[in-house]
């Protein structure tokens, strides 16, 4: 009898998380409620699970991509529709490649030029002994930023240098760059983040990676 109860209690233990989130069916819920009446262990577990659930619900994370993400999705849809043999699902016609590839290609080239300019600039100001890392350096990316659309390469370079950071990756399709700290700079992540956030006319978003 003891063994049967033990086995049954183990099975009921597995149901406790779903008792806490309120999704058990009536039969299972009644079994768990009877278990709770006779077991202080089960009551403690439920209290703990309730606290964990609340923390998971309350955790704040950065905003989702939102409208920018939808723009990116639609751009990718257009690109896919433009592939040879693919057809635009809306119109049922092949999309003219040049109609949207040209501005996208220009934008992509500009992004590469800006990124290369920043990387060259950072590397150019560093001496062999300075320990300044290029974008291919080894330290991990610790920050994410977006730059103002009208920020110049000079402004971006100055901002990164003052923050003690260099570009590690990006931009992705949302224009987000990942930054790493310059090894020899001695700057902490918090200090770099504060500097970037203070550059409101150049940096539009800065957050830990």
């Amino acid at each position: 009898m003891m063994a049967d109860n033990g086995k049954k209690d183990e099975a009921l233990d597995l149901l406790l998380p779903w008792y806490v989130n309120g999704t058990l069916d009536d039969g299972e819920r009644r079994q768990v409620e009877a278990y709770l009446e006779r077991s202080s262990h089960a009551r403690d577990e439920v209290e703990l699970l309730g606290a964990l659930r609340q923390q998971v619900k309350d955790e704040t994370i950065e905003a989702s991509p939102g409208a920018l993400g939808l723009q990116r999705l639609k751009r990718d849809m257009k690109q896919a529709a433009a592939q040879p043999g693919n057809f635009d699902r809306m119109a049922g016609k092949t999309v003219t490649v040049a109609s949207f590839w040209r501005p996208l290609a220009v934008a992509a080239c500009l992004a590469v030029v800006i990124q290369a300019g920043v990387m060259i600039g950072v590397g150019g100001f560093g001496t062999p002994d300075s320990g300044v890392t290029t974008a291919t350096g080894g330290s991990p990316a610790v920050l994410q930023v977006t730059f103002a659309p009208d920020a110049t390469e000079q402004q971006i370079r100055d901002t990164l240098q003052s923050a003690g950071a260099s570009i590690a990756d990006g931009p992705n399709a949302l224009g987000v760059y990942r930054l790493r700290l310059v090894d020899a700079g001695g700057t902490t992540v918090d200090e770099a983040l504060a500097t970037l956030r203070a550059s409101g006319d150049v940096v539009t978003f800065a957050e830990r990676n």
Binding site: E59, G69, L73
Partner: protein
Amino acid sequence: MTQDDRELLSRMAKGDQSALDAFYRAYEGRVYRFIRSKLNDSFDAADVLNEVMFEVWRNAGRFEGRSSVSTWVLGIAHHKTIDRIRRRKPGESVELDPEMAEEGTPDAAQTLSAAQDAEQVRRCVDQLSEAHRSVVHLAFFEDLPYGEIADIVGCPEGTVKTRMFHAKKALMKCLQGLKEMGLS
């Protein structure tokens, strides 16, 4: 809401981009949060979200209605995220071994105070394996029944229950460890 979502998918299958707009607005935040809970990387999470929504657009006509729309979409997000994790370099993240974590698991009452500290819970959840984080997120953030979670992650219901059990034990061990180090 479910009927509305199915209607949106039906319109998307016919190429209606206004339906895609509405669908994206309805699900984007929820799907992003699920992906983010598994990846711990907002950069990658935004990429995977885009892949998920693209697949929803391309396959809207294939939705058969055997599950809810949200289960279908979160299932796509689950598999896309797994693909992304597999492409990452091995050893990029250190995760708790649930078997090891169960050795000397403290009582629930002992870890309750630590479980009320948001920062400590976040740190410990981050150390769970992807499979365990998924179940914790779907059960505690989405408040989904175990059967629906099983559909999303593609495993038997019993596996979902045991994953949650192991995840809870690992969290308790981690929280107790932080408590003993005076970090909570």
